[in-house]
Structures are given as C-alpha cells and as structure tokens.
Symmetry: C2
C-alpha cells in the first residue's frame, strides 16, 4: 500500500454493527474493522471504541486519511454533528460524535443520515453518477430515502432530513411509530411484508422469530400462493410510493437499494409498470428506476462518500 | 404616471379569462384588460388578442415594460415557452407563446405554470418573503403547488413542474383524470368536496349546477350537519396532504391559497393540528402554515413575478 493514496476514514453506525475503515477514491475499503453495536452502550464508549478501531486501520495501512465521513442510522444533525433520538442507539442521544472524532483523530469530519450517505455513495460510484435530481430509496426492514440535487443532499428546514418512507398512502393501513397510519414504511417495508403475512396467514406457519422477507420471497419462488399474495400486495405499495415521490419530486433517477431488492425479480418490473400508469401529470417516462449497485460495500462507501461529497458540513479537528 | 416607473408586462392565462396588464415592482397592476378564454379558440387568435390588449395597456400608461411574464394554467414548458396539453385550452397546444409575445411586443418574455407563478408572487410580495424552502399550495377546484428553493422554482426532470396535487393518499378514493385513484386533488379540492356531497347527500338537495364549495361552507356555518360532515372529511384530507408534503420536502413555510381558503375558518386550524400529529419523524414544529395574502391580485401579480423572479428562463425578443 502506497502512503500517498488519498483515503477517507469511514464510520458506518448501524443498529447491528459499527463498521470502521479506510476507503479509497474508488469507493473500495482498504482496511476495515467491525464492532457490535450492542457493545457500545453510550456515546462515550462508542467514540472511544471507534477511535481505537480507526487508529488500528491507520496503523495497518500506514496512511493518514484526508478526512473522515460518518454515516449513521436514524435522525442525526449533519450541521451540529450530533446524534438524535435513534431507536437503536438510545444511549447515544446528544453525543456530538463529529466533534469528538475530529478532535480525537485530529482530522476534519462530517456526518450524514445513512440514507443520505447511501445516496451520496451511489451518486459517486453507482447508479446516480452525473444525475441532476437523484432519489435513493432503501427498501429494507424500514424505508428510507435520500434526495440529491446537483450532487448535494437536499435538506429540509433547519438542515433536517426528509423522511420519504413516512408519507401516508393508505389511511386504512397499519399504525406506524411515526404517528401516521398507512405510511409507506408501514405498507411496503420488509417488516410490513412480514407482519402482514403473519397476521393474515390462516395456517399460522411462522412467528416473528421465524419469518422474514427473504423467506417470503423463497416461498413465492417455490409456488406458495399466500406468499405470492403477500408479494403482490407489497408490489402495489412499492408502486404507490414510487408514483408519489415521482409526482412530487420528478427525479431523473430513482435507485432502489436495501434488502428487499433481493426479491426484486418478483416485484420490481410490475411495480414500475404500475407506478408509471399513476403519474399522468408529470413526464414519468423520463424518470428512470434503477437498482442500486453498491449493496455489498455500501456501509463504508456511504460513510466515505459523506466526506468526499459534503464539504460544507465538515467540522474541523 | 411617470414614464420612468419600472413595470412588467403581465399575462395570466386561466380557464375562464385571460388577464393582461402592467404591474409595478410593488406587485400592483397599473393597467389591466381581460379577455374571456372562450373567445380564444387557438394559439394564433390568443396571441393576437393578447398582443392587442398589452399594447393598449402600454399606450394607456405611456410606459414600456422592462419585460413580460406569463402565468398559464396547466402543463406548460417554461424552458421552451410552449403551451402543453391543457384541458381548458385545447386549441392552444404547441403554441410557442413566449417566443410569439416576445417577438410581437419586442420585449423579453418568460412563462411559468400558474402554481409556480403564484408561488413566485407570494415569495416576492406575500407569505413567502425571505423563505428558503417555500411551498405554495392552491386549494381550488383542483389542487396545485409550486415549490421554491432559495427563491427559485424547483423543477423536475426536463424542467417539468411537479404535481403536488396528484400524489395518492387513499387508494380507496375516487378515480382521477391523472391516472391515480385517491390522489390529493380527488379528495381535498373544491370539486372533490362538491362531488362527495352530491354522491352522499341522501336528500339529493343539489346538482352539479347548483352546488359548489362556497355553498357547502355556508351550509356548515348555518348548522347543516351533512355539510359539517363533508367539511370534516375535507379537513382530514387537507391534513394528510400537508403531512405528506412536509414529510417529503420539510419546507420552512407552506402557504395555502385558492378558493377553498374562504372556508379556512371551518377547517384550517383543525387540519394543521391533525397534520402536525402525523409528522413524527421530521421537525414539523418548524414548518409554518400560512394563508396566502395576494388572493385578489394574484393573477397579474403572479405573471409579473415570473418576469421579476425567473431571469434564467427568459426568451429574448
């Protein structure tokens, strides 16, 4: 490894693990560590463990990163660099992680919500390169989105992150923790698919512990008619969300990532067809739907893209 | 009238009338003509009549406008200056009205969709002054919206105008001409209010010809319980639309204009309360809801604002 390669420090904070590493300008990680999130009970413990892992990576490669990007699940404040009220990280709330990391490592640092980070990574190395209005949607256990205009993160009032997954599309739908009934996440996420299956499968073949979206997709592929029904319902709501975001934002490209994309052969073509039929008032034929390309490396690539692409929010060391 | 006052030529093309005039930098019209739209069967007739009216205004005031703004109902192309497929203006489709007017009057001209024009006018003289992310919504016979970022019109792919009023919020709702079922316009517009009343009023007291939103508001004010029910249904869907657009765009201010605002004392406070309860994932307390302030003069003010505020789309004479 040459010392003169330009690397970004990358920290991806997820509900299950925190990935730490060094990432090149090609988006590939050259060094990587992983810490189980459950071992990091609060912000102080987390910052110390991340510092230690990142210093390991720096020693291993012999390269000092030019900057550090953090991608973090849940509501975070990219301007102040503070962790918000994140369901998976209860002890971290209020931690000024960007300032802490910048000071401890001595390198300027920036942070974004994980959906915005993923959007930045896809815009840098994947499905959103050169796209003027780029919407990245993650169809996962939940649904998140990041919207870029001219390569920069679109922010709402006070620098806030819009929550594409929580707009209401069917008020007869399930209650969501967001305060709405029948928002997109409550109808078209992996958890929504699983929950609907569990509640409506009269044979009661599964439980919360034994069922997930991947199993439902496999059942459908093996000919199970109830799994087919569940996936068709998912298809309809995926289509509605695409239609609504296209009607409101009219992006050039929507890229779909997240775990549900593993079943995209079962629903995506049909969802795109349905969504196009519902957008008669905007030039929907110009809005392309793609699948995200960085799935495997998205954690550290997303974090690195935050540093490479969001210079305005950097907090200096 | 002093000859050195800076005036914009203003042309507002609506389904009922075309207003033509000269507007000062304070947003007030100093000269005005009106032509019934039904007299303007195609683009050629329209352009000639508009030219004649605008020249009348110029003669009357003795002031040559510094530029001309056009506000037009329905889909128009602000980049090419061409009228699209507008339901109320069937003979006008394909008319390159901006170029025609610029050439005939000899003054540079620009055009926007009427919702974007109204947003620009409110941002210049009304409820959107100095607002970074400003969403203007017209609750009228239909529902339209214009979104400004930093004072400029947000455009979708190919310069297209987003159609805020046509996102789906209840797939069990009525069919809409847009191709969707249960879009916002089909549930919370003046026509939606009227149609629901007609279909569900068991006493069959009214017909399409004898009922409109204003009458329903008056019935509610006089204690009619069925009108109250209709307005409460409207309230719910107004709230859902505000919630969805706030979740996706997180604007600093949403301004509501259009004819339904005449009944805002009957539904707006409750709608705002309901909408705030449904936006748990974004800082909804920072997103202000206002009523538009330019209602009376919005036609010519909107057209003039197109010229004063959208320099990039001007077509030179």
């Amino acid at each position: 490894m040459s010392n003169d390669q330009e690397l970004a420090g990358a920290i991806d904070i997820g509900g299950t693990k925190v990935a730490v590493g060094l990432v090149g300008k090609d988006g590939n990680a050259v060094s990587r560590r992983s810490i189980p999130t459950r071992d990091l009970a609060d912000g102080n413990i987390a910052v110390a463990a991340i510092e230690s892992s990142l210093k390991d990576c720096i020693r291993e490669t012999g390269v000092t990163p030019v900057g550090i990007g953090i991608s973090c699940t849940g509501p975070v404040d990219p301007i102040s660099g503070e962790i918000g009220k994140v369901a998976n990280l209860p002890g971290w709330q209020g931690c000024r992680i960007v300032e802490e990391i910048a000071n401890r490592i001595g390198i300027q640092t920036a942070m974004e919500n994980d959906a915005d980070s993923a959007a930045l990574a896809e815009a840098t190395w994947g499905s959103g390169r050169g796209v003027e209005r780029f919407l990245y949607i993650t169809l996962s256990t939940g649904i998140g989105g990041g919207f870029l205009i001219g390569g920069s993160v679109y922010r709402g009032v006070g620098g806030s992150h819009p929550e594409m997954g929580h707009h209401t599309m069917d008020p007869s739908g399930p209650d969501c923790y967001c305060g709405a009934k029948g928002c997109w996440e409550s109808l078209a996420s992996g958890n929504a698919l699983r929950d609907w299956f569990l509640e409506n499968d009269l044979e009661r073949r599964f439980s919360l512990e034994t069922l997930d979206a991947r199993i439902i997709f496999d059942l459908y592929r093996s000919g199970d008619p109830f799994a087919e029904k569940a996936v068709k319902r998912l298809t309809f709501y995926v289509a509605l969300g695409l239609a609504n975001l296209t009607t409101i934002l009219v992006p050039d490209v929507i890229a779909l990532g997240g775990g549900l994309i593993r079943g995209s052969d079962l629903f995506l073509d049909r969802a795109v067809q349905m969504f196009r039929a519902r957008c008669g008032e905007v030039p929907v034929e110009k809005a392309l739907v793609r699948t995200a390309v960085l799935e495997e490396n998205l954690d550290l690539a997303g974090a690195a893209a935050v540093w490479f692409r969001s210079p305005k929010q950097r907090i200096d060391a």
